[in-house]
Amino acid sequence: MEDLVMETPEQTVMERLQQGSAPPPEAEMPPARTFEVKNLSIWYGEKRAIDTVTLDVASNAVTAIIGPSGCGKSTFLRALNRMHELTPRTRMEGTVLLHGEDLYSSAIDPAIVRRRVGMIFQKSNPFPTMTIGENVVIGLRLNGVRNQKFLNERLEKSLRMAALWDEVKDDLNKPGTSLSGGQQQRLCIARALAVEPEVILMDEPCSALDPIATAKIEELIYELKAKYTIVTVTHNMQQAGRISDYTAFFYLGRLIEFGPTTKIFTNPTEKQTEDYITGRFG
């Protein structure tokens, strides 16, 4: 199905890109930027997953990345905290700046990058050998924090921020895997918040959840952006429309269009964006 309808858009995308009409998002951007991505390209072996992407991520806002499967949106997300390097035979070009600092400079330890840029995964993954409480503070523990009072404070604070405290405060010693799917995902969010990152990346955080659990996570994302910069990948167009301030549309490893969500969804500049959003392909 996908292959059949993709033929025409692909051609036109290539034509447009050859004409050099890459979207100019600078005009709409507010001054505060968390990430500045310049000419980012990523290869897996010979395959080019990301092709010369330039994009700035606004601070204290939600940026949604949309696009059909295999368009490179997850790769782009993982490049923001160097998680893509876990895949063997990857290569990258270009720069990614976090608050002006080059994340790929040889002086920087990827572990430090990931402490500053947290990540939530598609499938909730609380550690099965640990209790709810242990799951939340494990990041701090393994990073050398021993002070129990501090850990307890951070435990409650993180669970409150993840809107999970009231549901689990009496069950902190139960296994993390005893929670429901939506609660597990919020536990993972609490776990990521506990190390106090500056940014939270989310890779389709709701795709395995039912609508009620999804609504809770979406509400949470909305609340979290007061304190954090959030970048989320989503397959769900309505969700991108509901939760994000900015939307980036990726296709075949390229950034086709990027701008305020309201503009992308109501008046996209590119025809591919419109076709994808209206469900004509992807």
């Binding site: 990931r114 550690f127 099965p128 990041g139």
Partner: protein
Amino acid sequence: MDTRRSDNHPWRRFKSALASVIAFISAAFVITPLGLVFFYLLVNGASSVNWAFFTKLPAPVGAPGGGMANAIVGSLELLAIAGIIGIPVGVLGGVYLAEYGSARINSILRFLADVLNGVPSITWGVVVYGLVVLRFKGFSAYAGGLALGLIMIPLIVRTTEEVILLVPNGYREASLALGVGRWKTIVHIVMKTASKGIITGILLALARVGGETAPLLFTAFGNRFWNHSLNQPIAALPLQVFTYAISPYDDWHRQAWAGALVLVTGIFCVNVLVRVLTRGRGASVV
């Protein structure tokens, strides 16, 4: 209607019943040897398994009573030495194969570990005899433990590797995404998640070498008395069973049966322990 008729076809039902019967008979064949071994050991050995067997030294030929206390303790000492050598090397080797290294080199290492697992156990005895016994001019508990430890290494390498590979990648990524380093992730997240499987592999390896006789013949050598120094020859239960079984004396034969019964019971208990460990909560996670 057509399908219903063919479902009730007598020929098909006969074939199905026949397959069930054959499977049942095969299963019975698998279990029978175990039953026979226990039956024989109980019939011939149970009468000699008494308090003295566990507390007394072997009696001289012709003298009544006596036991295998020194061999039981000796086996435990040998297993301790084997474990000190085999467990860390085996577990870390398995971790390396599962988490580090290139696919190409790892497939070679894996193949070599499988070859080592197939090496006849007496070969290990010869190797240790040449490397240790000749050099230090004497049989010793160290040499016996080393031979057993070397047998354990490839066993533990392979089981550890397998259970670590079963740990879903999502847990590694979750930990790394918290800014936890790779080694800490492997120790505190991956190995902890796989700990039951790793312990199971260790216990099975101990049970396997606990019953080995051949590698001890010219390393630990055996001892009719208490071993007072690990530099000296030491008794071991399977070795004692072997020595007594090939002797011409009836009372030694009875002791050999008893020793074999104790040995098999011990190995059986380890296997039961493994079953208990792998059951219940967390069993799904390796």
